[in-house]
C-alpha cells in the first residue's frame, strides 16, 4: 500500500468513519460509544505520530483527488500542517474524555459525538489542506459541523446563538469563495507554495490582489474573530463546555487564524505581501482587536463570556505576529497558536467543571471556590497566569518572541500594544483568582453535585490538570530539542526563504 497517499486519508478517516458509526448508535449504547470515541482519538494520534515521524525522515505524504479539471483536492503533510494537526489531535483526545464526563446523562449524546467527530475531521482537513480549494471545502464543512454542536441544548438562546453563528460564518464563507475563485482566474493555480504563488503576476493586477486580500481577511476573520466580525463568539458560549473548549481552543478560531497564516505565507508570500503594503493594516486590525477584546472581557461578569472575549483578544496575537513581518515575530505567532490553545482549553475546562459541579456561571458566585475545588482552580490559575504572560509558563514565550520580533522589524508600537494587553489581561484574570482563593465561600453553592471524596468526576478533573501540566512543560522546556520553538523556527526558515 502506498503510505504516501493513504496516510493522510487514513488520518481523516480515523474520525470520519467512527463519527458516522456513532450516529447510528442509540442513546443507551454508552460503552460502545465511549469505546468508539476514545479508540478513534487514540488511533488518530498514532497515525499522526506516524506521519510526523515519516516526515522527519524525508517521506512525502500527499493525497490528491481531481475535483475539477485543473483543480485537485489535496491533502499534504508539511511542517505548518503538522503543527496544527498535532495540536488538534492532542487536544481532541483530551476534550473527548472531558465531553464523555460532562454530558453524562444528557439527551442526544450520539448526535453530539457524531458531529463532534465530524468537526475534528474538518479541522484535520483544514490543517492538511495543500491548496486553497481544499482549505475552502473543509472550512465550510467546519461551519456545518459546528452548528449542531452549538444548538445542541435546543433552548431558545442556543438556537438564536446558532442563527447568529450561521449568519456570520456563511457570509464569511461566501466572501472566501469569491476571493478564491478570483485568485484562481488570475493565477491559474491555488497550490500552497512556500513563497506564495502570486508574486509573479503582472503589476497591473496588484490593486485587484489587494482587494482580494481584503476579502480573504474578511472571510477568514469571521472565524478568527477579528474586530468587528467577532460578534458570534460570545453568543456561542451557550454551547456545552466541551464545545466551547473545542471551538475556542482548537477548531474554529484556530482554523481562521491558521487560514490567515496560510494566506499570508503560502498564497501571497510574506515579502510580496509586505511590498503591497498589506501587512500594516492587518497589524493595525489585530492590535485593535487585542485591545478591544481585553476591554470587553473586563466588563463581563459571566465567566464563559469573559473567557470568550479573552479568546477574541488572544487569537489576534497570532495575526499580529504574522503581520509584523519578521521571522522572530512569526515564530511568536506560531508558538502562540499552540500556547493559546492549550491555555484556553484549560480555562474552559475549569469553567465547565465549576458549572457542572457547583452550578456556578458568574464570577460573583465564585467566592472561595478554591477551597472546594483546589485542583480545578490550580489548573485555572496556571492557565490564567499563562494568559497574563508570567514566566515560566507558555504564554510568556509567545510574548517574548512577539516583542523581540517587533523590535527586530522596527515596529516599536507593537510593544505598547503587548504591554497594554498584558495589563488588561492581569486586570481581568487576577480578580478571578483573588475571589476564588481568598474570599470566604458561601453557605451553599447554587447547584452542587457531590462525587464522594473527589472534588468532581475523574473525566472532568483529569483533562484540565493534564493541559495545565502541558502549559507548564511547554514553558519550562521551551528550548528543549524537538520542542515547539525548534519546530516554529523550521517553519519560518522554510517559509521566509531564509
Amino acid at each position: 500500500m502506498n503510505w504516501g497517499m493513504a496516510l493522510p486519508l487514513m488520518v481523516l478517516g480515523s474520525s470520519l468513519i467512527p463519527g458516522l458509526m456513532i450516529f447510528f448508535l442509540s442513546e443507551e449504547h454508552v460503552v460502545a460509544r465511549t469505546t468508539l470515541n476514545l479508540a478513534s482519538a487514540i488511533l488518530k494520534i498514532v497515525l499522526i505520530g506516524g506521519m510526523f515521524w515519516g516526515m522527519l525522515h524525508g517521506y512525502h505524504y500527499e493525497s490528491r483527488l481531481a475535483l475539477l479539471p485543473g483543480l485537485d483536492l489535496v491533502l499534504r503533510a508539511g511542517p505548518l500542517s503538522m503543527l496544527f494537526v498535532l495540536l488538534s489531535a492532542g487536544l481532541w483526545l483530551v476534550t473527548t474524555v472531558y465531553a464523555i464526563g460532562y454530558l453524562e446523562g444528557s439527551p442526544y449524546r450520539s448526535r453530539f459525538f457524531g458531529f463532534f467527530s465530524l468537526c475534528v475531521t474538518a479541522t484535520v482537513g483544514i490543517a492538511l489542506a495543500g491548496n486553497l480549494m481544499t482549505f475552502l471545502v473543509f472550512y465550510e464543512l467546519l461551519t456545518l459541523c459546528t452548528y449542531p454542536l452549538i444548538v445542541h441544548r435546543g433552548t431558545e438562546v442556543a438556537r438564536k446563538a446558532g442563527r447568529t453563528y450561521l449568519i456570520y460564518t456563511i457570509s464569511g464563507g461566501a466572501l472566501l469563495l469569491l476571493s478564491t475563485v478570483w485568485l484562481y482566474t488570475l493565477a491559474g493555480t491555488l497550490e500552497f507554495t512556500e513563497r506564495g504563488f502570486l508574486s509573479g503576476l503582472d503589476t497591473s493586477v496588484h490593486p485587484t490582489l489587494m482587494l482580494i486580500f481584503a476579502l480573504l481577511i474578511a472571510g477568514l476573520g469571521v472565524k478568527a474573530a477579528l474586530f468587528p466580525l467577532h460578534g458570534w463568539l460570545p453568543l456561542a458560549m451557550v454551547a456545552p463546555a466541551p464545545v466551547s473548549a473545542l471551538l475556542h481552543a482548537v477548531a474554529v478560531v484556530k482554523a481562521g487564524a491558521f487560514g490567515i497564516v496560510r494566506v499570508v505565507y503560502d498564497v501571497y508570500g510574506i515579502e510580496f505581501a509586505t511590498d503591497l503594503g498589506l501587512t500594516f493594516p492587518l497589524a493595525i486590525l489585530a492590535a485593535v482587536t487585542i485591545i478591544y477584546g481585553s476591554l470587553r472581557a473586563l466588563f463581563q461578569d459571566e465567566l464563559k463570556r469573559r473567557l470568550a472575549f479573552s479568546t477574541v483578544s488572544q487569537v489576534s496575537y497570532i495575526v499580529l505576529g504574522i503581520a509584523v513581518a519578521g521571522p522572530v515575530a512569526t515564530i511568536g505567532g506560531l508558538i502562540h497558536l499552540v500556547h493559546q490553545g492549550v491555555q484556553k482549553i484549560t480555562l474552559f475546562f475549569c469553567a465547565g467543571n465549576l458549572a457542572e459541579t457547583l452550578g456556578i456561571h458568574n464570577i460573583s458566585e465564585m467566592n472561595g471556590v478554591g477551597r472546594r475545588m483546589p485542583w480545578t482552580m490550580s489548573a485555572f490559575t496556571i492557565g490564567a497566569f499563562g494568559m497574563i504572560g508570567a514566566p515560566p509558563l507558555a504564554g510568556f514565550f509567545s510574548k517574548w518572541y512577539l516583542g523581540r520580533g517587533a523590535l527586530d522589524a522596527g515596529q516599536d508600537w507593537v510593544i505598547l500594544i503587548l504591554s497594554g494587553s498584558s495589563i488588561l489581561n492581569a486586570a481581568y484574570f487576577l480578580p478571578i483568582l483573588y475571589i476564588a482563593w481568598f474570599k470566604k465561600p458561601p453557605e451553599r453553592w447554587p447547584a452542587e453535585r457531590t462525587f464522594g471524596r473527589r472534588e468532581t468526576a475523574w473525566a472532568l478533573l483529569l483533562p484540565p490538570v493534564v493541559t495545565a501540566i502541558m502549559t507548564l512543560l511547554l514553558g519550562l522546556l521551551a528550548s528543549a530539542p524537538f520542542g515547539l520553538l525548534e519546530w516554529a523556527r523550521l517553519i519560518v526558515s522554510r517559509g521566509a526563504g531564509q
Binding site: 483527488l65 475539477l68 483536492l73 465550510e140 433552548t155 446558532g162 461566501a174 469569491l178 475563485v181 484562481y184
Partner: protein
Amino acid sequence: MELILEGVPWIVVLIILPLTGGMACFLFPKISKSLGLLTSLAVVACVWGLGWQLIEEGAQRYAIGGWGAPLGIDLYADGLSLVMLAVAALVGLGISVYSSAYFSRDKANHFWPLWLFLCGALNALFLSSDIFNLYVTLELLGLTAVALVALADGAQALISAMRYLLVNLMGSLFYLLGVAFLYHSLGSLDIAILAQRAQPSPAMWAAVGLISTGLLLKTALFPMHFWLPAAHACAPTPVSAVLSALVVKASFYILLRMWLEIFPMVGSSFAQLMGGLGAAAVLWGGVQALRQTRLKMLIAYSTVSQLGYLFLAFPLGMSVAWRGALYMLLSHAVAKAAMFMAAGNILAAGGDDRIADLSSITQRLPLTLTAFSLAGMSIMGLPPSGGFIAKWLLLEASIQSGQWWWGVILLLGGLLAAVYVFKVVGHVFTQAEPKLEARAVPARMEWTALVLALVVIFLGLFASWPLAIMEIGSPFGEGDSG
C-alpha cells in the same frame, strides 16, 4: 460483451423500453409495481450502455427507419444528451422505488403507466434532433405530467392541474409557432441542417423570440413561474419531485440546444434579458421561500430560485458557464428530488407539513432530515456538493468575463438559500417532545431520499467524470478555453 454493447442501438431502446413498459403496466395492473421497477432499472442499464457506446465511438446519430434527414427523423446523442439521460434515469429509478411504497393500490394503477410514459417522453426529448419531434415529445411530456398532478385528490389539485395544462398548451403553442417560422424560412426541421443554414432575418428573429418565450414559460422563469408552486403543493410527493427535477429541465434542455446550435449569433441584449430575469428569479424565489409556512411550498419556491441560476449562463456565454449551468441542472435535479422525498416522508409521518410544527416530527425521522440537510447543502452551494461545483464554475465564468454582477447574484442566492434551508433544519435541534401519534414511514422511502442526497455529495467529490462526459461531441463548441 463488447459486441452486444456496440451492436445494440441503445438510442432506440431507450425510447421504446419505457413506452412498452408503460403499456404493459396499463395492461397488467396487478404487477404494475414490479414492472415499473424493472423498467426503471432497465433504463438505467440502457443509459449505461449508451454511455459506453459514446465513450468508445463519440457522438451517435441514428436515422429512424433508415431514412436520414432531411427526409426522415434523426436521433442524436452526444455528451449533453447523455448527461441528461443519466440524470433522468437515476432520479427516475429513485422515484420509482419511492413510489412503490408511496402509492396505494388504486392510485398506483394509474400512476405507473403515466410515469413510464413520462420517462419515455423524456428520453425521446433528450435524444431528438428534429425540432418538430421535440414539439411532439414536449407535448407528451406535458400531458403526462398534468395527468400525474391530477392524481392527487381534491378540488385544489384539479384546479392546479388545469392551470398547468393551460400553461403547457400556451407554451407549446408559441413554440410551434416559432417552429413554423423556422421551417418556413429555412426549409428543414433537423437541428444539424438548421445550424448550417441559419441566416439572420426578421423571420428568424421572430422564430427565436417565440420559441424562447414558449420555453421560458414552460421552464417557469420569473415572472412566468406562477403555475409551479401551486402544482407542486397539491401534487403527490413523487410527482412534485418529477416536476421540479426533470420536467422543467426538459424545456430548458431544448432552449439550451437551440441556443448552442442554431442561435449562437444572437446579440447580447436578449441574453442579458434572460440573465436579468434569472437574477430576479433567484432573488424573488428566495425571498418567497422564506415567507412560506408549508414545507412543500418552500421547496417549490426554492426550485423557482434555483432555476434562475441556470439562466445566468446565457449572458456569460463561455464554455465554463455552460458547464456550470449544466452541472447546476444535474445537482439540482437530484437534490430537489431528495428534498421533495424528505418532505413527503415528513408529510406521511405527521399528517401535515407546516413548518412551525416541524419540531415534533423531525425528532423521529433522522434519516429523512439528514437527506434534507445534505440536499440543502447542494442548494446552498456549500462544499462538497454538486451545487458547489456548479457555483464555482459559474463564478469563474462571471469573473473571467468581467460581468461580476452575476457573481454577486450567485452569492446572494446562496445566502438566501442558507436562510430557508436552516429555517427547516433548525427545527431538529429543539427541545420539543416527539409527537406520539406519528405514523411509521416505510424504510424504502427514507432510504431513497438519503441515497439520492448522497449522490449529490458524490457529484461534488467526483466532478471531473461527469464534466468529461459532457464534452463528448463538444456540444459547447470547440476551442473555448476555461
